[in-house]
């Protein structure tokens, strides 16, 4: 099994003047290719901070982080941006689509911006991804004319655009109604099953976590449990 993520002794301390807040306290964690991992925890347990560190949006205070065999915690800002672009995909609680662009342009954007334009190959891949997430009839729709669930599915397609090694999702269904949330989760499971995509989903929804292949629970900045197997399998 290919190791996608290896985090060792991850610590994060926020300082505000003389005041120190320890949010993560020695997290050791590994993720293999094709895993669909749920990260659970109460508010303030540090799960969003851990996700931000794994997503290279935040630097750890201590510890090492290796993604796809590359030590990434020591990279410069420019290298981190490049790594995020090529190896990581993001799905946020709020879709964060670019409102002035169509669904297709939003999906192609992560590939187009560094390349200097949307090539035919990029356009075709963006169309394929939108078809895959069930939005083949919304390809050239402006992002502002899509429903909440459709926007989140576009965000998933965008996260997949550059064929990332790891997709990080922070409460991806948090803003959706039950039906849209199920559809989004089914989609991620499908990508995981059929393409072997590796997901790390931060959630406080037990229903979402139950459908993941592994559940990690954070309590007060420490990994409290690490349980494998979906509820269906269990």
């Amino acid at each position: 099994m290919t190791r996608v993520l290896e985090a060792t002794g991850i610590e994060k301390v926020f300082r505000n003047g003389d005041e120190e807040t320890r949010v993560l306290n020695g997290i050791d964690l590994t993720l293999d290719k094709g895993e669909l991992v749920a990260l659970l925890g109460a508010s303030g347990s540090g799960k969003s901070t851990l996700l931000s560190i794994i997503g290279l949006l935040l630097r750890p205070t201590a510890g090492s982080l290796t993604i796809s065999g590359e030590r990434v915690d020591r990279l410069s800002e420019r290298e981190r941006a490049r790594f995020r672009n090529r190896r990581l995909g993001f799905v946020f609680q709020f879709h964060h689509l670019l409102p002035d662009f169509t669904a297709m342009e939003n999906v192609a954007f992560p590939a187009a911006a560094p390349a200097g334009g949307i090539s035919r190959v990029m356009r075709d891949r963006a169309r394929d991804l939108l078809t895959r997430v069930g939005l083949e009839d919304r390809i050239d729709f402006p992002a502002t004319r899509l429903s909440g669930g459709q926007k989140q599915r576009v965000a998933i397609a965008r996260a997949l655009m550059n064929r990332p090694d790891l997709i990080i999702a922070d409460e991806p269904t948090g803003n959706l109604d039950r039906e849209s949330a199920d559809r989004v989760l089914d989609l991620m499971r499908e990508v995981n099953r059929e393409d072997g995509g590796t997901f790390m989903i931060c959630t406080h929804d037990e229903g979402v976590a139950a459908r993941c292949s592994r559940r990690l629970t954070l309590i007060d900045g420490q990994l409290a449990s690490n349980v494998s197997g979906t509820v269906d399998a269990l």
Partner: protein, 401 residues
């Protein structure tokens, strides 16, 4: 270029704001062009008024200075007195004229004998500046014969042309005779052949023209001339050409600017005022563009943050905002240049009763290239601050918002 597409899309996403911004820039450029054309036009009109009926360069004999004499036989300091028995003159004027004729910058030459005299009619006596000229070239420097309103321009052997103000003062008209007494004490009865009106007080009130041959015995100059007046194709070349002529001939060459120092000061002050207005126009454009783009960058922090999160380089985001500044400056600048030109042409067409444009405006000299380049550059500079701030948005902070 993808950054250009994104910049264009951002501008089109809020057309009313973009249009207002471009209109603001265009207005600033219109003011810039109008002021530049007006100042250039004013300078041209004033220069024309001054140089139109006068020489651009006057060539005269060098000033005579009393020399200090030293030597063993001179126990006390002695000076060689300057003789005033005969007026200083340009003896070898034909050579100078030849030199001037070979100069491509020279458009007209007038060899003259100038001097002071009195016109006496009965009890009335008035001082007059006499200009003795070649009758064929009387209009070389000033337009005299086309402006004759009484009599004709035929000077003949004893003819005199006087200005309309002088004629009024002495109660003279064409055909009447008058006594002339020169600074050399020579007197002669002359006939007023014509009365001219140039509109220039200095000419119409104090100057009288006669032929060079008539002037010679009156000023006791049988061969030489007192001065050579030169007109150039471009009056602005006067200083350089005067320097050249002074070196080449050894004569005193005075460009028209040195005879009209107050005009030069006025033109300079006018130019400086115009420059100040242009600078303020440019500053207002820069502030306008910068404030609009700062707001735009702030409004788009979330979008920019998400771009940064999925690894779009900061340089790309920088370009998106710089290109917005460039497009706004370029489009606003082009519209402003066109509007400014149109305004200048329209104003130029408004004339007074005498057919002269009401505003001395020069539409061709609106400084269009400078306006376009400076505005575009200014708008780009204005976008640097918001562009830099956008390119440094912390993705995490933007996402959490």
């Amino acid at each position: 270029m993808f950054a250009l597409q994104v910049a264009r899309r951002y501008m089109l996403s809020n057309p009313s704001q973009t249009l207002l911004l471009i209109a603001g820039v265009a207005l600033g450029v219109t003011v810039f062009v109008f002021i530049t054309a007006l100042i250039a036009g004013l300078a041209i009109r004033l220069t024309d008024q001054v140089t139109g009926n006068s020489a651009h360069i006057s060539l005269e004999p060098p000033t005579r200075v009393a020399r200090v004499l030293t030597g063993p036989d001179l126990p006390v300091e002695s000076v060689a007195l300057v003789s005033t028995f005969q007026r200083q003159q340009i003896r070898d004027w034909p050579m100078v004229v030849e030199l001037l004729r070979s100069n491509p910058d020279v458009s007209a030459i007038s060899t003259q004998i100038s001097g002071s005299a009195f016109l006496v009619k009965s009890e009335a006596v008035t001082a007059v500046s006499i200009i003795g000229v070649d009758p064929q070239g009387i209009d070389a420097i000033s337009q005299i014969t086309p402006n004759i309103m009484d009599g004709n321009g035929d000077l003949g052997a004893d003819g005199l042309l006087i200005g309309v103000r002088m004629a009024e003062n002495l109660g003279l008209s064409a055909g009447q005779s008058i006594l002339l007494r020169t600074e050399r004490g020579v007197e002669r009865q002359l006939t007023v052949k014509g009365v001219f009106s140039t509109g220039l007080q200095s000419l119409d009130e104090r100057v009288a023209f006669m032929s060079l041959q008539t002037a010679r015995p009156l000023f006791v100059l049988p061969q030489g001339v007192t001065n050579i007046e030169v007109k150039l194709k471009d009056p602005e070349d006067a200083r350089a050409t005067a320097r050249f002529l002074a070196e080449a001939t050894g004569l005193r060459a005075t460009p028209w600017q040195e005879k009209n120092l107050s005009l030069e000061d006025a033109l300079q002050a006018q130019g400086q005022t115009g420059t100040l207005i242009q600078i303020f126009s440019l500053i207002s454009i820069i502030i306008g563009v910068a404030s609009a783009l700062v707001l735009s960058a702030y409004r788009r922090r979330g979008e920019v943050g998400i771009m940064r999160a999925f690894g779009v380089p900061g340089g790309f985001i920088l370009w998106v905002f710089l290109l917005q500044g460039l497009l706004i400056g370029l489009i606003g600048g082009l519209i402003g240049c066109a509007t400014g030109y149109g305004l200048c042409v329209w104003l130029e067409g408004i004339t007074r009763v005498d057919g002269v444009p009401a505003l001395p405006i020069a539409p061709a000299q609106g400084g269009y290239v400078a306006a376009l380049v400076l505005t575009t550059l200014g708008a780009v500079i204005a976008s640097i601050l918001p562009a830099r701030s956008a390119s440094k948005v912390d993705p995490l902070e933007a996402i959490q918002q």
